[in-house]
């Protein structure tokens, strides 16, 4: 029993779920749900359908090359069962999974950082151009003038004294 990968969205297909299609050239396609199956029948390219993992990886939105991703791989040569190896593997799996998640999260965060800078620049630009919608150019002028005059008077008074 194994969890397969959906051909279209690259999601997990648990046993008892989904559909399998075998083409005349003996290539096998597994689908996790009818959404993927229907998209496939419509001949849509998963690398161009934005919500699939294939798109995300090919468009560089997710971590693709990394050591932690090399652990999960289908091997051609089977290994004989050996209890301690299996135990160790299970523990290693947990550890590898943790590292993998940390790294892919970091990758996505780095990608989104650039957006923050752009946002900043945009805000500054916006304020520069459209400040007149909130504040009139001469908004605080009279007050300032008054204050100035008050200050001047005070200075004069001081000078007089």
């Amino acid at each position: 029993m194994r969890i397969e990968k959906c051909f279209f969205c690259s999601g997990p297909v648990y046993p008892g779920h989904g559909m399998m299609f075998v083409r005349n050239d003996c290539k096998v396609f597994r689908f996790c749900r009818s959404k993927c199956h229907r998209n496939f029948k419509k001949k849509r390219n998963p690398r161009k359908t934005r919500w699939t993992k294939a798109f995300r990886k090919s468009a560089g939105k997710e971590l693709t090359v990394d050591n932690s991703l090399e652990f999960e791989k289908r091997r051609c040569i089977p290994v004989k069962y050996n209890r301690e190896l299996w135990n160790k593997t299970v523990e290693a799996m947990k550890r590898v999974e943790a590292i993998k998640q940390k790294r892919s999260a970091r990758f996505i965060m780095n990608r989104l950082k650039k957006g923050k800078e752009l946002e900043k620049a945009e805000a500054i630009n916006e304020v520069k151009k459209n400040i007149h919608l909130i504040k009139a150019p001469h908004a605080g002028d009279s007050k300032k003038l008054e204050e100035k005059m008050v200050q001047k008077l005070a200075e004069d008074v001081e000078m007089d004294e």
């Binding site: 069962y81 050996n82 190896l85 160790k88 593997t89 290693a92 799996m93 550890r95 590292i99 500054i124």
Partner: protein, 594 residues
């Protein structure tokens, strides 16, 4: 191929002509075309007849070309003369048809109208069909001959044959039924067998034909009927061993002496053929009949071999025959090779040693408790792990994908790398320490965006489609103006003296209007509209300018008035498709457009 009846033949050919040649012709076509059309039909019909008749002629065998046995047989059955005549008639008919076609095609060349050509064609076709109608008898006869001919037994005149002859009812057919797989009718009455029958048997790894003939009666050749003649023909032409069957018990209805007489009469036919006299029906009357057939076959075989050896061809064959045997090169023994495993197995089979305990035995022992546990046969490094439950899946991942003998090493490497990265500070969450200024800016930016959206919504809600009044037509309320400017940050407190405030006019008491014709408002009354100059006088200095403006106005309106338009915006077309532009032929002149 079937020989058709005359009627069918004609029908088929004529319908074929109609189907396979073109059918449409008009009298206004060119004459050579009409002629060709009808000539084609005539020639087509002639061709068909010719082909079919030729086929019939070639399919029927020529009596001179076939084996004399068959030629004689056919003569006996169908009468040589009649046969030849029939075929001759067919040949004549064929030639006649050809001639007819030739003549009419020649005549057609001088046909000058459709009607004449058509009549010629009708005549030609008619004549051809009449010729064929006259052949009705011949065609019927030939069809019968063909059917009978196809049912004749295939007797190979050149191979080993045994020929059974004798009086009717002596037991020839019974003999052939016994000896071969043939199924000839056997009945108590004479002349049950009316024609030749063939059976095949095997002797000394060779195939033999056994030919059963109808019985022969004792009278001179000229008086013999067709059935007997068949037997005679067979006797005459087939090089076979003759088995003259006699019936000592006289059950056939003829005495022994009569049979002997017949024998001596036919004797000349037995020249050059091994002869056996068979005394049949020995169960009725015993005369020892020792495997007569074997003797007959041996005799014939010997006869044949003799004749062959005398032939010259044998020597050529003998020269080429040579049996090759490999010569021994040394005295070493070379027995056949049997592998050890095979020897062991052979021994085991012989000794019958009990093998290891089978699953089946185990199942029988345990009965209901038996469970098929193939895991116990696994070949693992530690034998006690055979009964382990192996995990397969963890949290959406297959454990089998991670199994690797070197996984711990790779994991340690990975962990080291991870540590390095952490130390380098990759995973530190960078706090965005924004200064106050930036926060201010952000706040202002969000306010700006909000304000813009509101304005957009407002303008959408106004819902003014169509002609709009200018902004200045609407009066601006003082309160709204001051509120707006106040929101923008300006000080709108003390603005009673500003220019935008309307000076309130002192109003005199309004008198109640009496029911009199009230005087229309003059230029200096309270209505505001009167204070403005009328539109045709606004902006005009003097009468001269007024006059000029009026002439300008009239000038601009002249063209429209002449065309009957309501105004400058009237683009109505009264006549979209004027006839004088669209009717008529395109002549020299402008043909580039309509």
């Amino acid at each position: 191929m079937v020989v058709p009846t005359a009627k069918d033949f004609i029908d088929v050919t004529l319908s074929k002509t109609q189907r396979k040649t073109p059918t449409v012709i008009h009298k206004h076509y060119q004459i050579h075309r009409i002629r060709h059309f009808y000539m084609r039909k005539v020639k087509f019909t002639q061709q068909n007849y010719h082909d079919r008749l030729t086929q019939i002629l070639t399919d029927f065998p020529k009596l001179d070309d076939i084996h004399p046995f068959y030629a004689d047989l056919m003569n006996v059955l169908y009468d040589k003369d009649h046969y030849k005549l029939a075929l001759g008639q067919i040949n004549i008919a064929k030639n006649l048809i050809d001639n007819v076609a030739k003549d009419y095609v020649r005549l057609m060349k001088y046909g000058d109208s459709l009607y004449r050509c058509k009549q010629l064609k009708r005549a030609a076709l008619g004549r051809m069909c009449t010729i064929l109608k006259r052949q009705k008898q011949s065609l019927e006869y030939l069809e019968q001959v063909r059917q009978h001919l196809s049912r004749l037994p295939t007797i190979d005149p050149n191979t080993r044959t045994l020929l059974l002859c004798g009086y009717p009812n002596v037991g020839k057919s019974s003999f052939i039924n016994k000896v071969t797989r043939a199924d000839v009718e056997v009945q108590p009455y004479a002349f049950t067998t009316k024609s030749l029958f063939v059976g095949h048997m095997d002797y000394k790894y060779l195939r033999w034909q056994v030919v059963d003939t109808p019985g022969i009666l004792d009278h001179p050749l000229e008086e013999r009927n067709t059935i007997e003649m068949q037997a005679i023909t067979a006797l005459a032409h087939l090089r076979a061993a003759v088995l003259y069957v006699m019936d000592p018990s006289e059950q056939c209805g003829h005495t022994l002496s009569q049979q002997f007489e017949l024998f001596s009469n036919i004797r000349p036919l037995f020249a050059n053929k091994p002869l056996i006299i068979v005394a049949n029906k020995c169960d009725v009357k015993k005369i020892s009949e020792l495997s007569e057939e074997n003797q007959a076959c041996d005799k014939l075989l010997a006869h044949r071999v003799d004749s062959k050896m005398k032939g010259k061809k044998v020597h050529d064959v003998l020269n080429r025959l040579h049996l090759a045997v490999p010569a021994k090169r040394d005295q070493k023994e070379r027995p056949p090779f049997i592998p050890e495993g095979a020897l062991l197995r052979r021994k085991a089979m012989e000794v019958d040693v009990p093998k290891r305990k089978l699953e089946k035995d185990l199942e029988l022992e345990l009965g209901d408790d038996y469970t098929l546990d193939l895991q116990k046969y696994w070949d693992l490094m530690n034998a006690d792990e055979k009964t382990d439950k192996i995990p397969e899946i963890w949290e959406g991942h297959n454990i089998a994908d991670y199994i690797d003998p070197e996984i711990m090493k790779r994991l340690s490497e990975l962990e080291k790398e991870e540590e390095l990265r952490e130390q380098a500070g990759e995973y530190d969450s960078d706090e965005e320490s924004e200064d106050e200024e930036m926060q201010e800016i952000r706040k202002l930016a969000s306010q700006i965006r909000e304000k813009r959206k509101l304005k957009i919504l407002e303008s959408k809600e106004k819902d003014v489609h169509g002609p709009r009044l200018p902004r200045t037509a609407r009066k601006v309320e003082r309160a709204t103006l001051e509120k707006e400017m106040g929101d923008l940050g300006l000080d709108m407190g003390d603005k009673d003296d500003s220019h935008y405030v309307q000076q309130g006019r002192s109003r005199s008491l309004v008198r109640k209007r009496k029911r009199e014709a009230s005087a229309p408002p003059t230029s200096r009354t309270r209505s505001q509209s009167a204070s403005r100059p009328p539109r045709d006088k606004s902006g005009i200095r003097d009468a001269k300018m007024m006059k000029k403006s009026k002439t300008m106005m009239k000038n601009s309106q002249k063209g429209m008035n002449r065309q009957g338009k309501k105004g400058e915006a009237d683009r109505h077309v009264f006549n979209l498709k004027p006839k004088h532009l669209l009717a008529g032929k395109r002549k020299s002149g402008s043909t580039s457009r309509r």
